[in-house]
Amino acid sequence: MSVETNAKVHWIAACAPDDIDEEDVMRFDHDGASYAVYRIAEGYYASDGWCTHEHAHLADGFVINREIECPLHQGRFDIPSGKAKSAPVCVHLKTYPVRVEDGEVLLGLPVQDAS
């Protein structure tokens, strides 16, 4: 797994661009944490993997336009911003920068979160 470091984040390779279908989400586990990586019309995005409401992984959920719907209670988050959009989720989702380079989808994880 390639790791590139700058002053604020480590860029961690999560997958190849085609590993995620359009309008879909994939789970990515790294260094004891779990993330959800999204592919929507606007591009690739990433967030914490676990719903902020209860223990359900968003990679098991459903992408609708720019939103991810939790599989357990159907609460929704805005994918680019992580903003909680509909009950029963109230707490926003932490998001991470993503870039696609050299055939890889890279997640920008804070230095303390990256290995």
Binding site: D21, D24, H53, E54, H55, A56, G61, F62, I64, E69, P71, L72, H73, Q74, R76, S86, A87, P88, C90
Partner: protein
């Protein structure tokens, strides 16, 4: 056919065990289904939703018009029976809309959600959060707020709720209390503070509409206006209770496998239309993000992993009623479902 037997359910979780809540969501049985198939089933479609909701609403209005026309004659009895039955199927709509799945467009979903919540006397904000707990803790005693049949069985409330006498009466009391800002500790425990003002104002709107209807009845010197709002949940609630009881009653409690505590029951087109396919209740609990119109297809995709569906409502009751009767004196008795080999 599944058989009944005296199998021990697991122990109810302690109300003061916070680790149980953290663990349970990841421990439920999940069926095997390819992601591509599931994605197709999860798709939201306004047209599919409207194909049910528009005819339903048209039938509601038409049956109401016929019922009003027959008021004062004996024809009003069957006419209001039909209207009340259609009206009470707003409860199935409230349920499905609370999951946000019937429509792709959120405002359509929300508009029908608040309308059906009012109609079925389930205040929308309170019940959205309450129902989330039902899905997290399905049929776990001390946790699930929607266990319809207590253990040991109390027969009278079950029978009385065919006329909504227990459930709807409790809900009216709750709406009145909340409208005056009297919120109990149990509600505070699961309703976020940000939702409480919305719930209180929602209850006030409910009360205003009902009080307006009462005022109209007084002005007209006629009970007729009251026959259209809330009272149908009493005189027309039989089908809701008939089908609702098949969801979980008599099955295992405190188990982490919906196949053991939830039923799927095949039934006729009219009931499926009014009940929004919630007769596929096991599939709904396994994968609640699948909308009602896709539940028959989901059933076909995973039925080899499930206990056999009941062939009819009659078949479900033929097994359920003796079990409920026995649970009056033996609360450990449950209907045991046979799981397919892994």
């Amino acid at each position: 056919m599944p058989s009944t037997s005296a199998v021990d359910s697991t122990t109810a979780p302690s109300p003061s065990d916070p680790s149980f809540d953290a663990r349970i969501a990841e421990q439920w049985y999940q069926p095997r289904i390819p992601r591509a198939v599931l994605k197709e089933l999860m798709k939201r479609d306004d047209a599919a939703g409207l194909r049910n909701f528009i005819p339903w609403f048209a039938l509601l209005v038409a049956s109401g018009a016929v019922a009003a026309f027959t008021w004062g004659t004996w024809w009003a009895v069957p006419a209001f029976f039909v209207y009340g039955t259609i009206y009470s199927s707003s409860d199935a709509r409230w349920h499905e809309l609370s999951h946000g799945t019937p429509f792709k467009t959120r405002w359509i979903n929300d508009a029908f959600y608040h309308l059906s919540s009012f109609m079925t006397i389930r205040e929308g904000y309170w019940w959205r959060w309450s129902h989330a707990r039902h899905h997290t803790h399905t049929y776990f005693q001390t946790r699930d707020p929607e266990i319809q049949v207590t253990r040991p069985t109390k027969v009278l409330p079950i029978v009385a709720d065919f006329a909504g006498l227990v459930g709807c009466t409790l809900e009216i009391g709750k709406v009145v209390r909340h409208a005056f800002g009297r919120v109990d500790a149990a509600t505070d425990a699961f309703l976020p503070a940000s939702e409480k003002p919305k719930m209180i104002w929602s209850c006030r709107i409910y009360l205003a509409v009902v009080l307006g209807t009462i005022a109209l009845a007084l002005a007209l010197h006629s009970f007729l206006p009251l026959m259209f709002v809330w009272t149908p949940r009493f005189y027309g609630g039989w089908l809701h209770q008939l089908l609702g009881l098949t969801q979980h009653a008599g099955l295992a409690v405190n188990v982490k496998d919906h196949r053991l505590n939830t039923r799927t029951v095949h039934t006729n087109f009219v009931f499926r239309f009014l009940y929004l396919n919630m007769n596929y209740h096991l599939e709904h609990h396994l994968l609640p993000m699948v909308p009602f119109h896709a539940l028959p297809r989901l059933h076909d995709a995973i039925k080899d992993q499930l206990p056999p569906a009941y062939p009819s409502v009659y078949a479900a009751y033929r097994e359920m009623l003796p079990a409920l009767w026995k649970q009056r004196s033996d609360p450990k008795h449950v209907i045991e479902r046979t799981l397919p080999a892994a």
